[in-house]
Symmetry: D2
Subunit: 370 residues, 4 copies
């Protein structure tokens, strides 16, 4: 029997994690078509990716609401189909049983070292108990504010990342939080021999920008201003209502314009918490550009999507691709996965078409080895 692969979700009871676990079960059971999953498309066949049915889920979270109940709430909000939570109840309950408390909770006096040791033990136990070939750690927790330079504690995301390194687990940062990008983790990451990838999943407005900005460039059109507003509710909206978290988020979003256009055009970027919208996000972009002889033109885009439904399949894609990279002996950052990220590892283009070709090349390399 083929060995199974663990997917350890930091933020395991959030919307993205719940959707990923429920969706993986639905796809593995043939209940739904694999819409939105990149690695189920033909170019990724025969690449040695772990099958969806072989994935085993666990994770850390400070919340206690069980996954089956979270899934019901997501179905009520239209994120999951109405009857799906019932159909995959067993798989949700199994994943829920493998969730360990994150931290620190209020009043928790543990040091960074104590927390990292506890997380590492959780990961080691997970791999051993389920007899896993390996486990991939994926950060899907709420966005943190960027850490203060003189803070002597690691930010939470970096503590989980440190535990991944210590437990020998490849690591994926699907959020703009610090994770492995902390100066005090640099050395450990580089000698770990593990593959890792990030940062900040590209699901909506930035995805659009990564195809539109190259278009303007290639047509020699002069982008004068690019302004954007995001409206969203749900947990993501609430956490991004914190100005520090929003700033961390926006930094990644701006990168695609700066990298592609060579300079940042006029215009700001807002993320508004609108509780009434729930998990559904609306992103409006307004691009003022000049054409031939200075004629002023405008492109506007309105994207209405469900962030969890956009993110969850990419989380599964990344876990599978990184697992295969680990099997293949890859170590260090994986810029070829820049297709998935707003703020990819050095060496990646900011243009989606270029990123897509890099990803196909990555798949080809895996296939040759597989």
């Amino acid at each position: 029997m083929r060995p199974r692969t663990g997917v350890w979700l930091v933020g395991a009871r959030g919307s993205v994690a719940t959707t990923a676990v429920a969706g993986c079960a639905a796809l593995a059971a043939g209940l739904r078509a694999p819409t939105g999953m990149v690695t189920e498309m033909p170019p990724f066949a025969d690449c040695g990716l772990p099958p969806l049915a072989s994935l085993v889920f666990g994770g850390h979270d400070t919340a206690s609401c069980p996954l089956p109940k979270r899934a019901e709430a997501l179905a009520a909000g239209g994120v999951l189909p109405p009857r799906l939570p019932g159909a995959v109840h067993a798989e949700l309950a199994a994943a829920d049983a493998a969730i360990r408390p994150g931290g620190p909770l209020p009043g928790d006096g543990r040091s960074d070292e104590e927390l990292i040791a506890a997380y590492t033990a959780d990961l080691t136990d997970f791999v051993r108990e389920h007899g896993l070939a390996r486990a991939i750690v994926v950060n899907v927790a709420s966005t943190e504010a960027a850490p203060e330079p003189d803070d002597d504690r690691l930010p939470p995301s970096s503590r989980y990342a440190a535990a991944a390194l210590r437990a020998g687990c490849p690591y994926i940062n699907f959020t703009p939080s610090t994770g492995l990008h902390h100066p005090r983790l640099r050395e450990a990451a580089s000698v770990s021999g593990l593959p890792y990838a990030g940062r900040d999943g590209k699901t909506g407005q930035t995805l659009l920008r990564s195809v539109l900005a190259p278009m303007f460039l290639q047509r020699a059109l002069d982008v004068r201003a690019w302004s954007g507003t995001n409206l969203l509710g749900g947990g993501d909206g609430a956490s991004l209502a914190d100005p520090g978290a929003a700033a961390a988020k926006n930094e990644g979003k701006a990168r695609v314009l700066a990298d592609t256009l060579g300079e940042v055009p006029d215009g700001g970027l807002h993320i508004d918490n609108v509780p009434a919208l729930g998990d559904w996000k609306t992103a409006w972009d307004h691009v003022a550009f000049d054409g031939f002889l200075g004629s002023r033109m405008v492109l506007q885009t309105i994207w209405q999507g469900c962030d969890s439904a956009l993110a969850a399949p990419l989380v599964l894609d990344l876990a599978r691709l990184t697992a295969a990279a680990h099997t293949a002996g890859r170590a260090g950052p994986l810029p070829d996965l820049g297709f998935f990220f707003k703020d990819p590892d050095p060496g990646s283009s900011s243009s989606l078409p270029d990123q897509w070709r890099a990803l196909l090349g990555f798949a080809d390399a895996l296939r040759e080895r597989a």
Copy 2:
């Protein structure tokens, strides 16, 4: 002295032609930056393209309004900068003097053969009188309805195309009209030894679709419906108010979706003549797509642009690239110029990123030879 290159515009007194002539003069004189011109970007340096200052304009038209006056009207409508027509009056007048009557006008009893012979003589005279190295014929006339299969006359665009072949001129079809794509011209084209390219310049809605459709595909998102409405006035709006012309136009627009997505999704495409909008076009697109687990999402785009300002620099780009291809001995269709067209020659992708890379390859090949 470097030999000069002719650009012979079929529809030489239309908005696109007038903007191209005025803009070329303004750029050659250093009055404006080359915004919107692809071939003025670094990848096209040293490719042996004829300099803008070396281009000589002429053409056919059935209209009689002189170019300087047309340019004033375009400036009043905001298409050209207010003072530009005055600044390039001499160049407009020179081009106007090289325009010959198109046809047939009402009551004109000439046969196809007589018309083609007359056009050929006009082209030959143009080359000789100006001592040109070559002349490129570019069709920028109003869109025709598709011809009836049993019509024994050639459509007007095909008569001009036949004259280009006979006069030894490379040919570019910037409209969806038939041009060289007529069965009775196939043989002549294939033995002509001339390069040619087409069809239907890609300036707005289709340009967007050619980057957005690949994005949906690469992210495994299931496009369920793609609907569009175009509002425009001016001469283009009036000519597309003819259902036959609109049908010809829409066929090219649909191709990018069919080619990229593998099937044509639900949804129609309207082109409305709205005289009050003048030369400014608004295109609204509504894309309904399904994501993970069938969640329904929507992207809408609104493009507000000036068609003449978008088309004119591409006409100059195409004339320069085709002239260089002719110099280099290229013959037959040029699928590497698919970047510029809605309905490109066989062998071209429908995806803008792929077309961009093909165009860069074309430039590299020219540079090696130059």
Copy 3:
């Protein structure tokens, strides 16, 4: 015990009718707040309107799918809340039992007179069997094409309207179909002593236009072009894919602009059948207007709504208001209900604010009498 009021729906198994029956039951049982119901707001208290709990539903339809099953389908499409059909199953089944076959079905050789007589008997039976004080006939069937002037048969909607007159039932036309507006029914309507109202419920794009057009007028802004596109699927989309039905629909929509602005501006109006959208409609409007010194400005609106959910409460409002008008002895057209219609009875303004004040006056008159 207060006498009950019948609501007889022509098209009783369609989306609007099903939503009205299910919603009325949900509101009467206190399961939902009366969002979207005009007559549940304070200005309509104490006007002698029949309570929601006193309404009894029946109707005609040529379709046979039972209402509880239709309601399940609407819940699957997001039109009704997931658990509502189960909660009001009894009321849906009761209404379904009171539905009689419409006609003519294919092969049905009955004359107009035979059909009208059969419908009249259905109505009379309905009133008698349920001991109703009165029954209001409401046309919510699919839109018909406008009848040919020389057709010697009545259009279907007019046969049902004739039966309403004959059975002594007030009549409401919520569609653009002919209904009572047929020359051969004029005399019967005028001597019937019955109140009636129409035509074509105003639920989305036209609702918006009826507040925006007066705004432009009052600000002396010069509307130059008003263009619109509607995308919708479901049964309504399919029936409006018929050009005749779409033309009938569009005539009412254009009236608000013509009446308010004094002339019809440039611009067309499309209704596209996009099956993938189901019962959800998207309407885009583009208004080009000139301001001070001729400066060109643009307003665009995008309305994303569920037509059935917008129409159903208005159907209940109209049935209640017309029942109260009947009780009060009103006869003939009710222009004071123009608030609800795209193409209201003569004597109504086309401006929503004016229509709102007329409606408040109507309520006041009812209250004084009540």
Copy 4:
């Protein structure tokens, strides 16, 4: 000869003032139709309003760029027609000659009292030199931040307002700045016997909201979130980039929703300075509302307008109406002019249709007296 009326503009060299002066001259000379001017419509005929040709302009400003030059800059940015500044050069120069320095400039040590006295003298001189029947003071200067409660100096706008009172001039506040709304001016205003009106001209997004919010209310639709983003450049964009000024602006904008809907829905409001947009503003609004049985629907509006072109005719309207009110002996606030303001005087509705009827009543009262 009919006595002339002065219009004294605080901020006399800004875009709005320049457009008002140039436009008034163009209309008086018959060069342009009075599009955008409310008081040139039939309901305002025979109301005793001063004719446009009888208006004489002057004002205060701290800027020194002459009006003819400002007008040229506005024409270059598309705010004024290209040739208008030349055609009304004499009138612009005459108004420019009547502009007096505002203050305080940097290093200016004058006290509030000294400044007010100087402004009062300027006003008195203006009236005397031109032999005016009266002069109306209109604040069209850049928006100030709201004053600190413990600041012992008056904000600039209040100093100009105090001078208006002292010089016996009716006062209009077209901005959200404090103006007459300062506690230390309350007594002087109430005993002045002068009419005054304000605050903050309603030109775009708020105008729309004042017709859309009543529509939702009258249809019993439940507005859950109303979010907005404004993009603009020019002087207005720059001054609103100051958070204090933006806050002052937003307060008025929120009032229409709070007043109409009874509570402020979710959602924020941004004003972004985007220099590349110049004087052209784009406002996007996103309204999430619930309909029957809780179905979620969305309306989005995109308004692209030129603020100066929208504001200038209203400034002329207000000056004329307030002049007529002064002639008619009206004193105190004029809530009947709420039609023009975001944050109108107490006693005004927030609904545009109600404001329109109040304005018509105001005109009727003037006409009866005239």
